[in-house]
């Protein structure tokens, strides 16, 4: 069976999920996995689906593109390797928080450091807020980033912590790494 990924991005509006899934439903596609989110006013969805035997692929693509035009969505559909990835994603066991003045490259530099250490980022969220104490009139922003990480025993936490500290100094932000505690069975 062939597996396809479909991603769509565009301005959020009511009915957008129904519009995208309608042609899939009509052609008997099975949605295996999906995730959607809204950032600002932008909607984004990615889903994996399997197509039934003998589906009219050309007409499916045509229908989906029609929806894209109607809803002003950028749509991409392509065949992907079937099945889950070989290594299962592990549950995050550390939370990294970063606070400070916004500047370019915060995510990039933090992600590079983590990649060098072989650490998997399992979740990433960012927020910016106007600083309450800002009197410069330059609209300075307070930047907050929260990353969930999966750190294996192979990582030397002391080394990692000191590297993060150095990075925090370099970027003039505060970076903290905290384990997610295990409370057991309650």
């Amino acid at each position: 069976m062939q597996t396809f990924s479909l991603s769509a991005i565009g301005r959020d509006q009511p009915g957008i999920v129904a519009a995208i899934t309608e042609p899939l439903f009509k052609q008997g596609c099975n949605i295996e996995d999906s995730s959607m989110t809204i950032l600002g006013a932008e909607f984004a969805v990615i889903l994996l689906m399997t197509l039934p035997q003998g589906v009219d692929f050309a007409s499916l693509v045509k229908d989906i593109n029609e929806v894209g035009k109607e809803c002003s969505l950028t749509i991409d559909m392509k065949e992907v390797a079937a099945g889950p990835r070989e290594e299962p994603t592990a549950l995050s066991n550390y939370i990294l928080t970063l606070y400070g003045e916004d500047s370019t490259g915060l995510i990039y530099k933090t992600a590079c450091l983590l990649a060098d250490e072989g650490i998997n980022i399992t979740d990433l969220e960012t927020k910016t807020a106007r600083r309450d104490d800002d009197e410069s009139g330059e609209g300075r922003q307070l930047y907050m980033m929260m990353m969930e990480l999966y750190i294996t025993e192979a990582t030397d936490l002391k080394v990692l912590t000191s590297k993060l500290e150095d990075l925090g100094k370099e970027l003039n932000v505060s970076i903290k790494l905290k384990p997610i505690e295990d409370y057991g069975e309650l």
Binding site: L91, I95, Y183, E185, L186
Partner: protein
């Protein structure tokens, strides 16, 4: 002390709301003793009456007394009257042994409850103890930790076989 059987998900009893209890009513003190023995046998740090199929608002919590814990707490009709802060931690449940999840809870809670003797008490708990109290009080409302998962992909997973 007879051991009580732990009710396992998806038994619908776990999703029902428990009733308030009157301290010193008949059978309550035996139930409290049995609940505590059952919790200890399973090596747990908390248990709620609905977990043994009794829909009464009784919880037992014991995270010890170091790290600011209150030691053994036997609480009737517990209520959260104040909560603040957020922290994420990994939880399991004796009633759902197959799963673990990362759950966001309040960092600090104030609880009002009755002791088994019928005395009013207020408890200020933080950290681990606060999390256990929130988990057990959820049981009295028929809420399970899996109901608190907001992102299944990120936060819920099958427990590795031990």
């Amino acid at each position: 002390m007879p051991l009580l059987k732990i009710i396992k998900y998806p038994d619908p009893v776990l999703q029902r709301v428990s009733r308030e209890v009157t301290p010193l009513a008949s059978g309550i003190s035996t139930l409290i003793e049995d609940l505590e023995a059952t919790m200890r046998l399973h090596g747990g740090v908390g248990i709620a009456a609905p977990q043994v199929g009794v829909l009464k608002r009784i919880i037992i919590v014991d995270v010890g007394s170091d790290k600011g814990g209150h030691g053994l707490l036997r609480l009737l009709n517990p209520k959260i009257i104040y909560s603040s802060g957020k922290r994420k931690g990994r939880e399991g449940c004796l009633s759902i042994p197959e799963y673990r999840a990362n759950i966001t809870r309040s960092r600090k809670v104030h609880i009002e409850a009755l002791t088994p003797a019928g005395k009013d008490i207020t408890i200020e708990a933080k950290g681990f103890e606060a999390v256990v109290l929130q988990h057990e009080i959820d049981h009295l409302e028929g809420i399970l930790f899996i109901d608190r998962v907001t992102d299944m992909k990120r936060d819920l997973f099958r427990r590795e076989p031990v």
